[in-house]
Point group: C2
Chain length 261, copies 2
């Protein structure tokens, strides 16, 4: 299936803006302008996309089918103030900011939230990234869904509350998980043990849940209520009170959950 290609202006030049605009361009859309407050970021992204850039919202090309706002959540409102009376479809890419932010300001609006973690140094295959879509009417919804389908096989309609819940779930499954990788690396480093030793375990832990319910995959001392091992671990963690606190707290939660199920 082919999708109509769009003329798009990208507002923002962070990780989401960068990876999303690459994918949109690759699917045949034209990124006609990149905006960022920071000239350097705007220029860098625009050069990669072979397009124009600007550092003032007023200078963004008007001749587009869609504006995609991909800035920090608390900067969205400031950007929107510059779009009063704009008739063109505008969407943001935030998980937590509701669609209501557009209400009574903008005529045509929506949300285009890619559920993935984006880092500068990593290429992302968008074809499996879930894209969560919401819009103020059917026509705009259709346009955004078609755009989503042009880059991913997983376009979904989610309302703002569902999207916020998904974002919280993502914070646990990604940001908090990565924090535990960080702590794990830190613990190993104190004994000069390479983080490499733990990598096969991390990969298997992630792969396990592809076909299984995570609750059935829970292993470790806390699940078994192996108090002897837990006590030995807590003793070794005496020199890191913060890590010890987390160990104790999460272990208790795992045990409670095991008992509850």
């Amino acid at each position: 299936m082919t999708y109509p290609t769009l003329r798009i202006a990208i507002i923002g030049a962070g990780n989401v803006a960068t990876h999303l605009s690459y994918a949109l361009k690759k699917a045949g859309n034209r990124i006609v302008c990149v905006y960022s407050r920071t000239g350097k970021s705007a220029k860098l992204l625009a050069e990669t996309l072979q397009t124009d850039y600007c550092t003032e919202v007023e200078l963004i090309t008007k001749n587009v089918d869609l504006y995609i706002i991909s800035v920090l959540d608390n900067a969205i409102e400031t950007v929107l103030d510059k779009f009063v009376n704009c008739k063109t479809l505008i969407c943001h890419t935030s998980g937590t900011t509701g669609i209501d932010i557009f209400k009574n300001r903008i005529e045509n609006y929506g949300v285009f939230y890619p559920l993935q973690t984006f880092s500068k140094t990593r290429n992302i295959d968008f074809s499996t990234v879930p894209l969560c879509i919401e819009a103020n009417n059917r026509q705009n919804e259709k346009l955004l869904v078609n755009l989503a389908r042009s880059i991913s096989s997983d376009a979904r309609l989610l309302n703002s509350e569902q999207r916020r819940i998904v974002h919280i779930a993502a914070v646990f499954a990604c940001n908090f998980v990565n924090h535990f990788y960080v702590l794990s690396e830190k613990i190993l480093r104190t004994r000069d043990i390479s983080f490499d030793i733990i990598k096969p375990l991390i990969q298997e832990t992630a792969r396990k849940i592809l076909q299984n319910n995570p609750i059935d995959m829970q292993t470790g001392p806390a699940t078994r209520n192996d108090t002897k091992t837990i006590a030995a671990h807590l003793e070794l963690l005496n020199s890191w009170p913060e890590i010890k606190k987390i160990y104790s707290f999460v272990s208790q939660n795992i045990y409670k959950q095991t008992v509850d199920e």
Copy 2:
């Protein structure tokens, strides 16, 4: 390279015992006996391995090169009490129990700790599983290292304290990570959103650290100190005080760590 094959008795029939004995048999070793207190587990594993089983330690075949004790940490001592005056090499597979547990009881001993998460329903490719080896002398060390190399490309010598540290790191990187998958699934379930939506994110989060330092891969509201998003999330978590507490606690830790680095 070929390795001498051994006659091995497996003491225990849990997940580690099961997966390890499969791998050892596949590499050409003979599992001559399986012991478990629970007749059913012993029988099941013995049948798969096409070998004998028993439910009393005294009945375990004496004619072996190696006993592998793979039982819960707090049951190791009770098993060892039955091996007084035994000259044959005995090892355990525990991450946290030190090698000292054998001292003044057993003549030839060691540790054979596979650093991986084992579930009943999952096949494990042992070829990349780090095997942490320790022994009471060079000869026993060599035997265990060779056995490890016959099933994995990653055999390492680790002393008991290093192994305990590795085990703690594994608790964070696996058990605690899985707990966050559990919470994530729980949060999504309250709004009837399938856990599938979060799976590409989980896979990418795990893949990212293969080539990168986890600290450089940290993303999310807490790293950015995005207090608005954090406040919105905490409000949505009001109905789950325990999850809210974890969210708040881990977010603070991530922020502190971001500032410290």
